[in-house]
């Protein structure tokens, strides 16, 4: 029964599936670390705030689908770092931001947006033009910013659908062999001159701000080229980048799974061992209480608890523990009943050691391998149950878990509308995480129960 940690590791390292499990979990922890480092906490707190996702495309496919398509779908691009230059001619100073886009797709983008914040006094002039691969230059906007005597900051979004943009483009009708009146701005800008088809190549969006004040600056200059594919996993109906959600879901799932498993196993173990060790009436009473909890329907009660008491992530972890410890208490009780008849335990008792000391020093260490195995095995159940609760819309709204992404997917009818990239990745993540712990648990189990080996 007793195994040293060295022996356990030796047996474990011989178990390939167990090692695969460990590998996956290390990978998941690495993902959590990446999430914590690369994506600031603020971003994921903004998960349920639609305003912070406004520059993202709606329900767009993941970017890698283009590798499998002959007709390349335009990718959604958010360009944040323009090539900046500034020069002064006489008393006029010019700040210019240039955004370079290599457009190699087979259909037109859905739109484009320029977002900026200017800090100025007076009335600077903003001009946006585009230099196309065929060296035709089209002017999109030429507008003066609102007059201000003192220094102000002015924030504006210029959309491709703006009337001024369309009007400016119509002035360039001489370049094109077809009528521009019925076409939207992006269909003109990215079109070849002879027919209305996409002209591939390098486009440069040039933003110039002319002013007589040398203190004028442009901040947060962003050019957004609207496409239909984005990022590693795509975006959902609310324009959220699913990769961010999935990445942040990893530490949350691990936290929920591991803390629930550790909590319920420890409670169950101590409860069971105490009952088994004490025996007689204590045992009887404790086990009857155990039966009562065991016979309660867990999920309906969990739902009631989440609705009435609260759905903070810590509360849900607590609720899951309430129903998690029961089975473990039963098994550890029967184990404790075996161990307490062993001579060394009796010797310790006769020597006058306190019950608590006997339990913690002589009985519990014997159950350690079993403890680890059952922790690993209880993790997947905790993760799927939490995902289930979140799926019903009872999760913690401040933390986007995988279950909540699926809940949103279900509310927007993603399955019936064919938005597979919204459904598949979260479920696969849940399953992979669960599987990894099951692998480890099974590998531990074969060590703890040599009977299972064959």
């Amino acid at each position: 029964m007793s195994l040293s940690s060295h022996e356990v590791w030796q047996e474990f390292s011989g178990n390939k599936i167990g090692l695969v499990g460990v590998g996956i979990i290390i990978l998941l922890f690495a993902m959590s670390a990446v999430a914590a480092v690369t994506i600031p906490v603020e971003t994921f707190k903004e998960w349920n705030n639609p305003a912070s996702w406004i520059t993202f495309p709606k329900s767009s496919l993941p970017a890698w689908v283009n590798y499998f398509l002959s007709e390349k779908i335009p990718e959604h691009k958010i360009l944040k770092n323009p090539q900046t230059a500034s020069q002064t001619v006489g008393e006029i100073s010019v700040i210019s931001h240039g955004f370079v886009v290599d457009y190699e797709y087979d259909s037109f983008p859905s739109d484009f947006i320029y977002e900026y914040t200017a800090r100025y006094t007076g009335t600077p002039l903003l001009q946006i033009s585009i230099i196309r691969p065929d060296n035709v230059e089209l002017q999109l906007t030429s507008t003066s910013l609102p007059k201000s005597a003192t220094e102000t900051s002015y924030h504006e979004l210029i959309f491709s659908t703006d009337d001024s943009v369309k009007k400016n483009l119509r002035k360039n009708a001489k370049h094109f062999a077809f009528a521009l009146d019925q076409l939207s701005a992006e269909d003109v800008v990215f079109s070849a001159t002879d027919t209305n088809k996409v002209l591939k190549g390098r486009y440069v969006f040039q933003v110039n701000l002319y002013s007589i004040d040398s203190q004028t600056t442009i901040e947060d200059s962003k050019f957004i080229l609207g496409g239909k594919i984005y990022g590693l996993i795509g975006t959902d109906e609310l324009r959220r980048d699913l990769a961010v959600g999935l990445l942040w879901g990893t530490p949350l799932a691990l936290f929920i799974g591991i803390s629930v498993a550790v909590g319920s196993v420890v409670i169950g173990l101590i409860y069971g061992v105490f009952a088994g060790y004490k025996g007689k009436k204590t045992d009887e009473a404790l086990m009857r209480f155990n039966d009562v909890i065991y016979a309660m329907p867990a999920l309906p009660l969990l739902i009631i608890l989440a609705v009435t008491i609260g759905n903070s992530i810590f509360l849900i972890v607590g609720f899951l523990m309430i129903f998690g410890w029961v089975g473990i208490a039963k098994v550890s009780r029967s184990m404790a009943m075996q161990i307490k008849t062993l001579q060394y335990v009796e010797a310790a008792k006769i020597m006058g050691q306190k019950d608590i000391k006997v339990i913690f020093k002589h009985i519990l260490p014997q159950l350690l391998p079993y403890t680890f195995a059952s922790i690993a095995i209880s993790v997947p159940a905790a993760i799927t149950t939490e995902a289930g609760l979140s799926f019903l819309g009872l999760g913690d709204p401040t933390f986007p878990t995988w279950g909540q992404i699926l809940h949103d997917a279900n509310t927007f009818g993603a399955a019936a509308r064919g938005l597979w990239w919204w459904i598949v990745p979260p479920g696969v993540m849940i399953a992979i995480t669960g599987l990894a712990f099951v692998f480890i648990g099974n590998a531990m189990d074969t060590i703890v129960n040599p009977k299972l080996k064959r």
Partner: protein, 337 residues
């Protein structure tokens, strides 16, 4: 057994009761304010708005006392009344929800939804267990064969996917990509239509396939493990030595001995699936107990919640009880007295 049922209900009432009370009190206050302000003649009798206000508050207090809402939910008379009503299976009237036929009596609602849940989940469990026992027996008799390995892998993999997620995938594949089955499992035609049962069965196919797909793997694995243990017993060896065909040994002698644990697990999984129904029915929009339960909780309809919890718990306990009895039937060793 009975104690557990009552304990569950008490927990439910305790959790939902106080919230429910405050909601009821608010609605009473709103109703009375409405009534009094609508009554122009009465309003004109008061000289100042303060006087009117105090009159309204007095009225509200009176109504709350009359309804017994002034006492907390745990006061003996209210609790006693609630328990008594539950004992005689009178769940009262639902506060918000109604059945398809329009009745707000909780008993009517439950009686309408329960058969549908039982129809779906019992059919699924029966198919799962038959399939599982057959495949489990096959792979148990040929340990380490290809089939055996496939079964074991499938069992582990399928059990780590949430059923409702597979359900979403199934909707994607069969309702979107290949439009074979409808995405929503609620038939659109009215209940009274003669074609209703047919439509219900047609709408049931997708959830049924999902449940079976997820369920039978772990079943087969379970049966296999029990069977392997038994096939190593001496009496099987003896039967082989006598020359009884292998097929007969497995399906009659070995399976019969593996029956007690299998039956226990069967009964537990049947009732467990009823609890899991809450999420599965939400995915497929199946008009059964699970969805009713979820709807009731989202609007905090206390009578319906209590009724549904009662039925779910009763089913759960009944199946545990049944499992115990069946265990005694299959395994005479546990019989006493």
């Amino acid at each position: 057994m009975f104690g557990v049922l009552m304990a569950t209900l008490l927990v439910t009432i305790a959790l939902v009761g106080s919230n429910m009370d405050s909601i009821l009190k608010q609605s009473v206050a709103f109703e009375i304010r409405q009534q009094i302000t609508d009554n122009k003649a009465l309003v004109e009798n008061f000289k100042s708005p303060e006087e009117l206000d105090s009159f309204i508050l007095a009225q509200i207090d009176q109504r709350i006392k009359a309804l017994g809402l002034d006492e907390p939910w745990y006061s003996p008379p209210r609790l006693g009344l609630a328990v008594y009503k539950i004992l005689i299976l009178d769940f009262g009237h639902a506060t918000f929800l109604t059945s398809d036929s329009g009745s707000s009596n909780v008993k009517d609602i439950l009686l309408e939804k329960l058969p549908r849940t039982i129809l779906l989940f019992t059919t699924a469990t029966v198919i799962i267990s038959l399939l599982g026992i057959f495949i489990g027996a096959l792979s148990g008799s040929k340990v380490n064969s290809k089939l055996d390995r496939m079964t074991s892998t499938f069992a582990v993999v399928s059990s780590s996917f949430p059923v409702w997620w597979i359900g979403m995938l199934m909707i994607f594949v069969f309702a979107f990509a290949y439009q074979i089955f409808p995405a929503r499992a609620t038939p659109l035609i009215p209940v009274t239509d003669p074609g209703y049962i047919g439509a219900l069965l047609y709408h049931m196919t997708l959830p049924l396939i999902t449940l079976v797909l997820i369920g039978f793997g772990s079943w087969a694995y379970l049966v296999r493990n029990f069977l392997i243990g038994i096939l190593q017993e001496d009496f099987i060896m003896a039967k082989r030595a006598v020359g009884i065909p292998e097929r007969k040994i497995i399906y009659t002698h070995a399976l019969k001995n593996a029956a007690p644990p299998i039956v226990t697990v069967l009964a537990l999984s049947l009732s467990g699936s009823l609890g899991g129904a809450v999420i599965t029915e939400a995915v497929f929009d199946w008009p059964g107990m699970g969805r009713l339960y979820f709807e009731a909780i989202s609007v905090l309809d206390l009578p319906v919640i209590i009724g549904a919890t009662y039925v779910l718990t009763a089913f759960f306990l009944a199946s545990i009880f049944l499992a115990d009895i069946l265990y005694g039937y299959f395994d005479p060793r546990v019989r006493t007295g």
